[in-house]
């Protein structure tokens, strides 16, 4: 067993920051009332004030007003709420057509598939080899019955950042609502709702050292959207369910703690890892764009080897990473993102994603590259693929 464990799967989850924990603590032990009790007793009033304060901080981060920010249980719920909520509100009034990209994360992808089974028409936009949506295709795809365009801010696997400013512009011009999943860009890449023509934005705390199971949806004032989770009248009567006050407070604290300096450091570490791998490990291909990618994302395909074997070897050396291999997924299908950008089976099955956080160091970055280099060499000795090519080179 390795002595030290290093977590490089920060797109999936991040370590909670102690300062976030400290901010949340009083709401577990001292004031655990819910905000809906504000008309009954003092603790309820305090709870309401804490929730409002947290909401104001989140709204500030998105340059919106507090009533435009709805707390949810995470970005999965946010995206479900955005896509299905708009479909319910406009499906029988305006039309039944929605547009998404082929490489959306599962909440948007599967919400669209669900609507497809309910009689909606769904257009899945192609991307180029680096994962950018073709804006001409988007222009052409929008028709009279289009009610929503949902294109992510950046990709969950390959980090490609879409030009949401121009996408928002196109949607505005055509009078269509625009939702973006910003799970992997919130506080990492600027997103100013006052400047960008976006109507709905999904965000989450778990990617920025906040607690799990708290997220939010920005809903621009006046956006037609149906309440989807029924029950009480919480969240401006848009999302029923007990308010997660410790979560909201923790989320707000986490947002405060991300700095521009940290993002630049992540970028430096990212570029160092990419540079070393491409230089030192033969037959490796970067997935996504070299610069136009989230600061925390590295995704590289190693030819002739399979990803689950790579991740398992890395785990035995103490490194946690992720792969787009079919063997790794419960669906037994290779990454829809790598296929979406035109990658073949080998590229999907051999793709490794390393995602960075505040707590990773340059020493760890070098260590994972060194180990990766050894692991790939060993697995290629076993592999029947690519031998002829490699022998020629040698």
């Amino acid at each position: 067993m390795p002595e030290k464990r290093t977590y490089f799967d920060n797109a999936a989850s991040t370590r909670l920051d102690e300062r976030v924990m400290e901010a949340m603590k009083p709401y577990f032990f001292e004031n655990y009332a819910v905000a809906t009790s504000e008309f009954a007793y003092t603790q309820g009033i305090e709870a309401r004030e804490s929730l409002d304060e947290a909401r104001a901080k989140l709204a500030n981060a998105l340059s919106c007003s507090p009533e435009e920010f709805i707390f949810t249980s995470g970005s999965t719920e946010s995206s479900n709420m955005a896509v299905k909520g708009v479909a319910i509100a406009l499906g029988n009034k305006k039309g039944k057509h929605i547009i998404i990209s082929k490489i959306e994360d599962f909440p948007v992808l599967q919400s669209a598939q669900f609507l497809g089974n309910q009689g909606f028409r769904v257009t899945y936009l192609n991307t180029d080899v680096e994962g950018f949506v073709n804006l001409d295709d988007l222009q052409k795809a929008i028709s009279d019955d289009t009610i929503l365009v949902s294109i992510q801010h950046a990709n969950q696997e390959i980090g490609t950042i879409q030009d949401i400013e121009r996408i928002g512009g196109i949607c505005r011009e055509k009078g269509v609502l625009f939702h973006t999943d910003a799970t992997h860009t919130f506080k990492r890449i600027p997103l100013d709702t006052a400047k960008i023509g976006v109507d709905l934005v999904s965000v989450s705390a778990h990617t920025i050292h906040g607690p799990k199971c708290i997220g939010g949806l920005y809903v621009r004032n006046g956006t037609p959207i149906s309440k989807w989770m029924d029950g009480g009248f919480q969240e401006f009567d848009l999302r029923a369910g007990l308010e997660n006050i410790p979560g909201a407070v923790g989320f707000a604290k986490a947002v405060e703690l991300v700095t521009e300096e940290e993002n630049r450091q992540l970028e430096t570490m990212r570029d160092h890892i990419i540079h070393r791998i491409l230089l030192e490990i033969p037959d490796s291909t970067l997935n996504g764009h070299r610069r136009n990618r989230t600061p925390q994302n590295v995704n590289i395909s190693f030819h002739y080897v399979e990803g689950e074997s790579i991740t398992l070897h890395l785990d035995m050396h103490g490194f946690a990473v992720s792969t787009g291999s079919a063997c790794f997924s419960r669906s037994l299908q290779g990454s829809h993102v790598i296929y979406g950008i035109g990658g073949d089976h080998e590229r999907a099955h051999g793709s490794i994603r390393i995602t960075l956080s505040r707590y990773n160091t340059m020493e760890e970055a070098d260590a994972v590259v060194n180990t990766l280099s050894d692991v790939i060499r060993e697995l290629r000795i076993i592999s029947p693929l690519g031998k002829e090519i490699r022998n020629k080179e040698a």
Partner: protein, 211 residues
């Protein structure tokens, strides 16, 4: 902490036995494809008098269960007669490895097929194989028994996933009793095509789903 893989699987994964190619093998085979994410190559040397496997090596492109199964079958087959080696089953390999996760059955069964195909390859090259017979629905069914139903880890025939099977003028049509948007539908379709298409007198394979 409990890994999905047994200690023996992990041990063979880390230190696979008999890895590589044999120069001028008496029999060889490659099973699987990059499409399904797993490939196994098996190479054998055969003692011509005793008809035993005197040497065996394997190569693997695949996940841990694929590598470990490739490794264990080389140990199980070495020294055995061809007839004995042909009878090695996935179940035996799995038991020798201390058990394999069911969802990984389709990755690991490839090594067993690789071994059998390498023996068949030896027999064909040494005039020991039977005459090439025309494909019948029975032969197709036998091949379908090698396609795993990932839901249960058992094959698609035994788990009654094959709703219809048609063979006409070299064209095979298979109807699977699953909705087309089922999570395993694409994987099953691809595997069935890969298993049946190589048959010498089959020109086309179509796989359909019930909804």
């Amino acid at each position: 902490m409990k890994f999905p893989y047994s200690d023996t699987v992990l041990e063979h994964f880390r230190h696979p036995r008999n890895v590589g190619k044999i120069e001028n093998p008496d029999g060889k085979a490659m099973e699987g494809s990059p499409a399904c994410g797993d490939m196994v190559g098996v190479y054998i040397k055969v003692d011509p008098d005793k008809k035993t496997i005197s040497d065996i090596k394997f190569e693997s492109y695949g996940c841990a269960s694929n590598i470990a199964t490739g490794s264990i079958i080389t140990e199980l087959a070495k020294g055995k007669t061809l007839e004995e080696a042909k009878k090695i089953t996935w179940q035996q390999a799995s038991e020798a490895l201390g058990g394999l996760p069911k969802i990984k059955a389709h990755c690991s069964v490839l090594a067993i097929e690789g071994l059998r195909s390498a023996i068949q390859n030896y027999e064909e090259r040494h005039g020991l194989a039977k005459q090439q017979e025309p494909t019948t629905p029975e032969i197709i069914k036998r091949r379908l028994k090698k396609v795993m139903n990932p839901i249960s880890g058992l094959d698609v025939v035994r788990t009654n996933l094959i709703k219809e099977l048609e063979l006409k003028d070299g064209i095979v049509r298979v109807v699977i009793d699953l909705p087309g948007n089922h999570q395993f539908a694409p994987a099953i379709k691809e595997e069935i095509t890969e298993k049946i298409e190589p048959l010498w007198d089959i020109n086309k394979v179509t796989v359909e789903f019930t909804e």
